[in-house]
Amino acid sequence: MSVIVFTLCILAGSMLAGIVGALTGLGGGVILVPMLVLLFKVNVHYAVGASLMSVIATSSGATVAYLREGYTNLRVGMFLQVAAAAGALLGAFIAARIQGHQLAILFGIMLLFSAWMSLRRRKQNAAAGGSDKLAHRLRLSGSYPVPGGRQEYRIYHSSGAFGLMLGAGTLSGLLGIGSGAVKVLAMDQMMRLPYKVSTTTSNFMIGITAAVSAALYISLGYIDPGLTMPVMLGVLAGSMIGARLLMKTRADSLRVLFSVVILVLAIEMIYSGLTGRI
């Protein structure tokens, strides 16, 4: 394809990925990398690099929107970021030593997990254990705005969430995704943060985690400007559109549909990786 046709196609595809990512809450990277690899025949390393950059851009944009609303818990975010950043370095380290088709298989496995997580019911947790000593020492608990004042909340299982963040960071550095789902999982289910707090704090964290591995990716040569340019711009535009659409549509029915799509993509990625087509 010529540069101009290629750029326009990638731009369009990335916008679609951004819209879908915003609507499903899964983030653009999940759809983007399979699309680039399977549809546009882009090498996995370039695709992951481009996706990582777009993740930084959208996360920063989202943070600008949400930071001032007062839901983000900066302490929880920074605390968990230690684990996430360390994981991101590990992920980039592994990515540098792994082959494209192996990466594709790993990506497919991650997609399978995502599909499963989207489809299962939210577990009703048993009563939380006693108050978290670490959270208490670090004064992690906070409050968020409610009509008439601020509602405080307590935090639990912070060390467990810390461990989970290591995994989230590694996935982010390895696969070029934001791992927002894992982060929200850790904060929402484990630490018992109110939903809006966990989503905004996760948004805050994602960009920083991705930047850690992106820096390494640039020097590894995984970031190609010709490819990353339309990807970043397309996903950025798409997620802004998707965020607007989110207000107007019912996300639930979409969630099931896209879980099926992700399932199909997962199988394709794993298959292509195994047969060496990538």
Binding site: V3, R192, L216, S219
Partner: protein, 163 residues
């Protein structure tokens, strides 16, 4: 739901509702009088938001500018991204990228914009550290410092990375 117990200091402790609406015996404290976040935190968050906004816009502007140059200069060149050859070494280091950008290379400008995007995150972490310092939260200045070091490690290790 049982009646709230009132305590002498006026706060009410309600039993019953976690954020998942499962009746569990965890007291939820509702602050009755309107309280405000510490003004320092609010102001710093505004600074961080503005820095992020400016950074992302500047980065996007560079990418758009570079992208237009690149596409207009190479519109009919065929692309091949199937094989991985690694971007040329000029596009991997800050020196090389800045040089290319100053010579109006489309790719150089794009790459510069992307590097700026990463740089913005460093600024973000730094400013958050300042926020904690202003709140005299030494533990979190330390924690933010660790994140900063990890971030810089990725960047510096990147600059000196040899394969």
């Amino acid at each position: 739901m049982s009646k709230p117990d009132a305590y002498a200091d006026g706060t009410a402790v309600e039993r019953g509702l976690t954020h998942e609406d499962t009746p569990v015996d965890i007291p939820v404290i509702v602050v009755l009088e309107p309280s405000v976040r510490p003004p320092v935190e609010e102001r710093m968050q505004r600074v961080i938001s503005l820095a992020l906004l400016f950074g992302v816009l500047a980065s996007a502007a560079l990418v758009v500018l570079g992208g237009s140059l690149y596409v207009s200069q190479h519109a009919m060149v065929t692309t091949d991204y199937a094989a991985f050859r690694g971007t040329p070494s000029a596009m991997r280091t800050f020196r090389g990228v800045l040089d290319a950008a100053l010579h109006f290379s489309g790719k150089g400008l794009i790459q510069l914009g992307l590097m700026l995007l990463v740089g913005v995150q460093v600024v973000r972490v730094f400013l958050t550290g300042i926020l904690f310092a202003l709140e005299r939260d030494r533990i979190f200045v330390g924690i933010t410092g660790i994140v900063f070091v990890l971030l810089m490690f990725g960047i510096i290790k990147g600059i000196f990375y040899c394969r």
